[in-house]
């Protein structure tokens, strides 16, 4: 039984058909690369899985039972975490505050509960160490580099123990060293049985960490192949439309 199964997922924005009948499955410990040109529907599909909006038609199944995500928290409660392309961070808060936003660690004193800053700084520091990122938990996000912001956004997904992590262009704006670290993290997620969907424009990244690659073109899935049964050339052809189907 697959962890996540999409059946005929369709999304229309008025007359624009962003996604047309996408079928897709992903199992535990599997990493799937989702590729396609700008406007192919990658982000729309991500946002449907993450609960940002409901599909116009089609089903989403988790472990064989159908789910309806009305808001992102529903997806999170079902074990799906997402790193958004724009990272969705609060610049005026510290790195640790962002990691724990909406899931703050609290202490109780009688009937009063209050934020446990110490625990949050420590846990955030631990997560950043795991990511091998030089991100300081007490720094404000507005003072951070692109790579550090990325680390904060990725650390957010590590708070819970998600079944599926969605990553929307996680390596688009970071240094070479940190790209390697993010890819390492994806490997580690896979090893511990997590499924990953990686949206990326960077062919080498997808070929390094993914087991399978799915290609979208104009809202339709045109290919879904094991990584060792395809090549970067073929995928490029599928993305641009030079190769019709595979």
């Amino acid at each position: 039984m697959s962890l996540l199964e999409l059946k005929g997922v369709t999304k229309s924005f008025g007359a624009i058909h962003a996604l047309q009948g996408i079928d897709m499955t992903i199992s535990e410990g599997e990493a799937v690369g989702l590729m396609g040109d700008n406007g192919a529907g990658k982000s729309t599909l991500m946002r449907i899985i993450a609960g940002n909006f409901l599909p116009t038609a089609g089903k989403i199944m988790i472990n064989g039972s159908e789910v309806h995500f009305n808001k992102p928290v529903d997806a999170r409660n079902n074990g799906i975490e997402i790193v958004y392309q724009d990272l969705a961070l609060c610049n005026n808060l510290t790195a640790a505050a962002n990691v724990f936003l909406g899931r703050e660690i609290r202490k109780k004193f009688g009937p009063i509960s209050y934020l446990d800053h110490k625990a949050m700084f420590e846990k955030a520091g631990e997560l950043f160490r795991e990511l091998k990122s030089e991100t300081r938990p007490r720094d404000l996000v507005k003072q951070m580099s692109g790579g550090q912001r990325q680390a904060v956004a990725i650390a957010r997904t590590r708070l819970s123990d998600p079944k599926l992590v969605l990553m929307d262009e996680p390596t688009a704006a970071i240094s070479v060293r940190q790209v390697a670290e993010v890819l390492n993290l994806i490997h580690r997620l896979k090893d511990s049985g997590h499924a990953v969907i990686l949206v990326s424009h960077r062919m080498p990244d997808v070929f390094e960490v993914c087991d399978r690659v799915a290609v979208l073109r104009r809202g339709a899935k045109v290919a879904d192949k094991q990584i060792n049964a395809t090549s970067p050339e073929e995928v490029t052809g599928l993305i641009t439309g030079a190769i019709e189907n595979a």
Binding site: C90, L93, L101, G102, R138
Partner: protein, 338 residues
């Protein structure tokens, strides 16, 4: 080689985790309320030479009591401004809440009932503001401008445009709460001090406070993180209104009478005090101590001009000048940082 580098990496990581940009004191030095506080001390020193009356206990009593009402309202306003909103209705709401209190107590009800009616009226106005802003996504400026007109009008209607000076059986207690003092400190100042400490705690240690600041920083990110953004925004407007209601309750007790003109144009002073105290109209910045400090500076200017024998007509000019200077200072400091 590898062993030593491994070790030093671990050490470096450890020091990164515990490192902070600056210590608490250094951080305080960078905040607007601190510099406004310095300005207050400076004006105080100058005034102590200019006027013999300035340093007297009586004068301090008056200054602190006068700014306490604005400080209480500014605490609530700073929460609203932290979410990048604004509440223009607080002055009119004072009039409405004051009249409601007066009518209820005049009708022979006790002070407890009067207080509940006062805060209830305030909460309802705040709730309407909040729901229109959070759920119908209307601009805070427009909604609260409309409420400014409506609250004042309702106050006029229900008061029948008459002054109320009879507060029923609990009149003495009511006037004591607003007008008297405990240990030489006026009661409204006690209220302001307690509320300031409570707000300081809320901004630093409560989840709600953290969420309000997050919404001011990036409302979309807050929403995606699962924060109930709409409900928090409604609660912020209710809180701001309740602060105004509380200020009205104390102010009416001090005056010993209430007309529907209570709090006329106070919203401008409260917003000015909040901004002088370090709030940023773009949202995401809040200091509990900023509200009383901003209110104190404004009252100090008024008091100083009076004691220095400068025409009272200049008062608004200097309040405006300090407002602009405060924002300018903030701009310059931010430019230096980025």
């Amino acid at each position: 080689m590898t062993d030593t580098t491994q070790k030093s990496h671990a050490e470096i990581d450890e020091s990164i985790t515990s490192r902070q940009e600056m210590s608490g004191l250094q951080a305080a030095l960078k905040t607007q309320p601190f510099w406004v506080f310095v300005a207050i001390i400076a004006i105080g020193v100058v005034m102590s030479f200019v006027s013999d009356v300035f340093l007297t206990e009586r004068n301090f009593f008056n200054i602190t009591r006068n700014f306490a009402f604005f400080g209480i309202m500014a605490l609530g306003m700073s929460a609203v401004i932290c979410t990048a909103g604004i509440d223009l209705s607080v002055g009119s709401l004072m009039g409405l809440a004051g009249i409601v209190t007066g009518l209820v107590m005049q009708a022979g009800y006790g002070i407890g009932f009067g207080f509940i009616a006062c805060m209830g009226a305030a909460a309802i106005v705040g709730l309407v503001n909040g729901v229109l802003i959070a759920y119908l996504r209307m601009a805070p400026f427009v909604v609260t401008l409309g409420m400014l007109a409506m609250s004042r009008s309702i106050a006029m209607v229900i008061s029948n445009n008459k002054m109320i000076y009879d507060f029923g059986p609990d009149q003495d207690l009511f006037e004591w709460i607003g007008g008297e003092s405990v240990f030489g400190v006026p009661n409204p100042v006690w209220v302001l001090m307690i509320l300031t400490v409570v707000f300081w705690w809320v901004w630093r240690y409560s989840t709600w406070g953290r969420w309000v600041i997050a919404i001011g920083g990036n409302a979309d990110a807050a929403k995606l993180a699962g924060i109930p953004v709409e409900r928090v925004i409604v609660s912020v407007y209710v809180l701001c209104s309740c602060c105004a209601g509380l200020a009205a309750f104390l102010l009416v007790g001090w005056f010993g009478s209430v007309t529907n003109a209570l709090g006329l144009t106070y919203e401008l002073n409260v917003i000015a005090a909040t901004v002088i105290g370090g709030a940023n109209l773009m949202g995401g910045v809040v200091y509990a101590f900023g509200a009383p400090i901003g209110a104190a500076l404004m009252e100090l200017i008024r008091n100083s001009l009076l004691l220095a024998g400068i025409d009272a007509l200049w008062q608004q000019f200097f309040v405006g000048l300090f407002l602009i200077l405060a924002v300018l200072l903030e701009q310059i400091r931010n430019r230096g940082r980025s």
